[in-house]
């Protein structure tokens, strides 16, 4: 027994020694870890703006994809001929002067002097023409414009001419469209890449230079200030005006977890969260060091889409019955729920943009479940289950299908709501017989006119998902594209909306505004259609 006690003491002593050694090692590591990280910047510290982007940058070609993150990347490194200010007016950007012939068929543009690509080569007419031709093969508005184009001509290094077969009313609007696909100007050698292939040369002439060697997918994207960029003199507004860069470097820090992003902002490890989730607003707003800003006060629009090819919504009367049951406030309160961040809008165009009208919106503006039931009874609906696709991983629209399902059930529909991730929904959406309804959201810049809003397309197989097919609606959209004055366009926009509602091309479900969370040390936000990173200052 005595022997055991002695051994125990001895063992305890050795254990203590072991513990001490471990503690010493741990202490050394802790000391190393807890002392401030060495500052790599010597005499002149670079000003670095760190932002958590809405998603990870994956594709670098803004013509190849319509992904918003690639569009944001495009605005960092490329410039455009025209921009659109916050009031929706198209303003020159790379263009200095332009004129149009009396018959409105010949447009002549002259570029600003001194425009340079990141590699030091000047931006020429040839670069512009090649870029527009590539974009025109892909973008909805671009393809419409190209169908009117007779030819392009580089008059000299800075001047180019566009000749049309007949007058087209949206030439400047096409060049200045803020939403995807944006007609960014690239060097001719890059724009010569077939549109079916991704570009991998990221040379642009925009305010930032993409640092490809520092790009780590899933981790961070780095942009450096383009010291050679010459901003316009006008104040920045939307995607137009002076794009003055006031930091040396911008880093997009990819943080997938919403709570971790908020923690990183609170700790000052990042300066901005581009699009925090609504659930994070209370935590963000209660932090004195954080401000909520609204770079896009116009907001975005929720919408519901029927599959016009699959029963039961292959019948117009069934679509109308469903539309009578849908109730904007129910969708907005459930999905957003924060007063001031949503508003009803009985129009397919954003409520604060020029083409806003309530013409033909009876179904949506005055939802009535009894009327819906009556219409459904008259339609001869045979109880075919309505498959609604719910993207559970996309918080910004995940609750909308739940509301739609309940409202449709109340109206007498048999509903089969199927949950899936967004990418499955996107894959499945392309199949014509695999669904009946999906819901989505679109930025105001994408839906502000009947041409840029491809959800209004009724060109059958070439239409937006749901494949609406209506010759009258397409004729009206063509007439809109040709219209030469604002008054005629406004009248046509009204008719287009009325017809779109009649056939149920889409159902607008109201508007929502998503803010950006930023440290209070960040100032100089530009108001427009989305967050842009020029003009931002970091104290």
């Amino acid at each position: 027994m005595e022997r055991r006690r002695v051994d125990f003491r001895e063992a305890t002593g050795r254990l203590r020694l072991c513990v001490r050694t471990t503690l010493a090692f741990t202490g050394l590591v802790a000391l190393c870890a807890c002392r401030p990280a060495p500052q790599s910047a010597p005499a002149h510290a670079d000003k670095v703006l760190r932002m958590v982007p809405q998603s990870d940058l994956e594709i670098l070609d803004p013509v190849w994809t319509t992904a918003l993150i690639t569009q944001d990347h495009g605005y960092m490194i490329y410039d455009t001929l025209f921009g659109m200010d916050a009031s929706g007016r198209v303003s020159p950007q790379m263009v200095e002067t332009w004129d149009v012939s009396a018959d409105k068929k010949i447009w002549t543009f002259t570029l600003r002097d001194g425009l340079e690509f990141h590699d030091g080569l000047p931006v020429t007419s040839d670069d512009v023409i090649a870029s527009l031709q590539r974009w025109g093969q892909r973008d909805t508005m671009g393809r419409k414009l190209m169908s009117f184009v007779e030819g392009w001509e580089a008059v000299n290094a800075r001047t180019f001419r566009l000749t049309l077969k007949e007058p087209y009313g949206l030439v400047l609007e096409s060049f200045g469209k803020p939403g995807s696909n944006v007609p960014f100007i690239m060097p001719r050698r890059v724009a010569a890449t077939p549109v079916s292939k991704q570009i991998d040369d990221t040379t642009g002439s925009g305010p930032f230079v993409f640092s490809k060697d520092q790009w780590r997918p899933g981790e961070k994207v780095v942009y450096l200030r383009n010291a050679k960029y010459r901003p316009r003199a006008e104040p920045a507004s939307g995607t137009s005006g002076g794009k003055t860069v006031k930091v040396d470097r911008v880093e997009w820090v990819v943080i997938k977890d919403a709570q971790t992003a908020v923690n990183a902002l609170a700790a000052g490890e990042v300066d901005l969260i581009e699009m925090p989730a609504y659930e994070q607003y209370p935590a963000l707003e209660s932090n004195a060091g954080i401000q909520m800003v609204e770079p896009n006060p116009i907001g975005a629009q929720f919408s519901l889409h029927f599959n016009h090819l699959a029963p039961p919504f292959n019948k117009e009367t069934v679509r109308q019955a469903a539309m009578a049951a849908l109730n904007q406030p129910a969708f907005l309160q459930t999905q957003v729920g924060i007063p001031g961040r949503y508003r009803t809008c009985f129009s397919v165009y954003p409520c604060s943009t020029p083409y806003f009208t309530t013409t033909g919106m009876d179904f949506i503006a005055r939802p009535d479940v009894n009327r819906a039931r009556q219409l459904l009874g008259e339609s001869g609906y045979d109880g075919t289950p309505v498959v609604i696709m719910q993207p559970t991983d996309l918080a910004i629209i995940a609750k909308l299908p739940v509301v739609a399902a309940q409202l449709l059930r109340d109206a007498g529909f048999k509903v089969d709501m199927q949950s899936m991730d967004w990418q499955t929904l996107v894959s499945r959406r392309a199949k014509k017989d695999a669904w009946n309804i999906f819901l989505t959201g679109a930025g105001a810049e994408q839906v502000e006119n009947p041409i840029s809003n491809n959800m209004l397309s009724a060109a059958c197989d070439k239409a937006f998902w749901g494949w609406a097919c209506d010759a009258k609606l397409e004729t009206l959209r063509d007439a809109f594209a040709r219209a030469g004055d604002d008054q005629a366009r406004k009248a046509l926009a009204e008719q287009i909306q009325a017809r779109a509602m009649e056939i149920g091309a889409l159902v607008p479900l109201g508007e929502y505004v998503r803010g950006t969370a930023a440290r209070r040390t960040v100032t100089g936000f530009v108001t427009g259609y989305f967050l842009v990173l020029w003009n931002l200052e970091k104290q």
Partner: protein
């Protein structure tokens, strides 16, 4: 051929068979899901025609057998192809994500072993005592707390309230040891809790069982000090199950600790796998699953070889 070489050859042959089955299964499963990466790549506003263009440019319109032939041919030459999304090769993408995952896995397992083995040995030695009961309580707690809850709690306390360590991110070792270790401590502590609990439990059981053996009684009868009996006799004889559980833990860690990587925003293989699955980036999914399978096979082989060193009675 000596038995050990015969054993090695058998294991390599069976490993190649396993990997071939994995390769074929993964390739077929990816294609049979009917998911379409082209629709995802083309973006939300793309038309059917644009998606078809993307599909053709990615080679997804070809017959499955042709696609498999091209991919497998590349694999035999060490070419895993290019990601559908990033203009980077799959090898480049995996190489970028390997260091964070390896660092997190090794740091976690070292922490867990350093804490769990002594604790488990003490608990086994003092079987039924207050220390044992306390350690087993801690172990149950370790199993019960979800990783993300512990992660958020540690971030709140250590990073936001005390300001000692960064909230998120990963710094490469090449950028300096201090930033590297600063960003690794919280995720490793978070993740090591469950492994500490697991290893401690196994160690306790193995040591307490070994202490009842005749050779321990003989060692004590010879008058050896108790610490020597515990460490040199009981713990050494309990090493086989402990090494097994450490090996399994390591493979689990290497094959991606998605939740921890997400909570601490560590760009490791776990996050890459999730992104690739969500994007239907087939080539990346195929490559990472192949890598994980190889890791499992290799680690299991190493464990089996370690048995030979730890227990001379084991023969293959």
């Amino acid at each position: 051929m000596t038995p050990i070489w015969r054993f090695l050859v058998q294991r390599v042959v069976s490993a190649i068979t396993v990997l071939l089955v994995v390769v074929v299964m993964v390739f077929l499963l990816m294609r049979l899901t009917l998911d379409d990466p082209a629709a995802i790549i083309a973006g939300d506003s793309a038309t059917t025609e644009q998606i078809q263009q993307v599909r053709e440019s990615l080679g997804l319109s070809r017959p499955i057998v042709v696609q498999f032939g091209i991919w497998f041919g590349g694999l035999l030459h060490g070419d895993l192809g290019e990601s559908f999304f990033y203009k980077k090769t799959v090898v480049q993408l995996i190489a970028q994500r390997l260091e964070p995952t390896l660092a997190l896995a090794l740091c976690t397992i070292v922490m867990a072993v350093m804490v769990a083995v002594p604790l488990g040995a003490i608990a086994g030695w003092r079987h039924g005592g207050w220390l044992d009961r306390m350690l087993m309580g801690f172990s149950t707690l370790g199993f019960s707390i979800p990783v993300f809850v512990l992660g958020y709690l540690l971030i709140w306390l250590v990073s936001l309230k005390l300001g000692w360590l960064p909230v998120q991110g990963y710094a490469r070792l090449a950028d300096g040891f201090s930033p590297f270790i600063r960003r690794l401590i919280l995720p490793s502590v978070t993740l090591s809790l469950i492994y500490t609990a697991l290893i401690a439990r196994v160690t306790r059981a193995a040591v307490s069982e070994a202490l009842t053996e005749d050779f321990v009684r003989t060692a004590r009868a010879k008058g050896l000090p108790e610490w020597r009996v515990v460490i040199h006799h009981a713990l050494a004889n309990a090493a086989v199950p402990i090494v097994t559980v450490i090996g399994i833990g390591l493979t689990l860690l290497l094959s991606g600790v998605v939740v921890t990587e997400r909570v601490f925003s560590i760009p490791g293989l776990g996050q890459l796998t999730v992104e690739a699955v969500l994007n239907r980036d087939f080539r990346v999914i195929q490559a990472v699953i192949l890598l994980f399978s190889m890791t499992y096979v290799l680690v299991n082989l190493l464990i089996d070889l370690t048995y030979l060193v730890l227990d001379p009675r084991i023969r293959y």
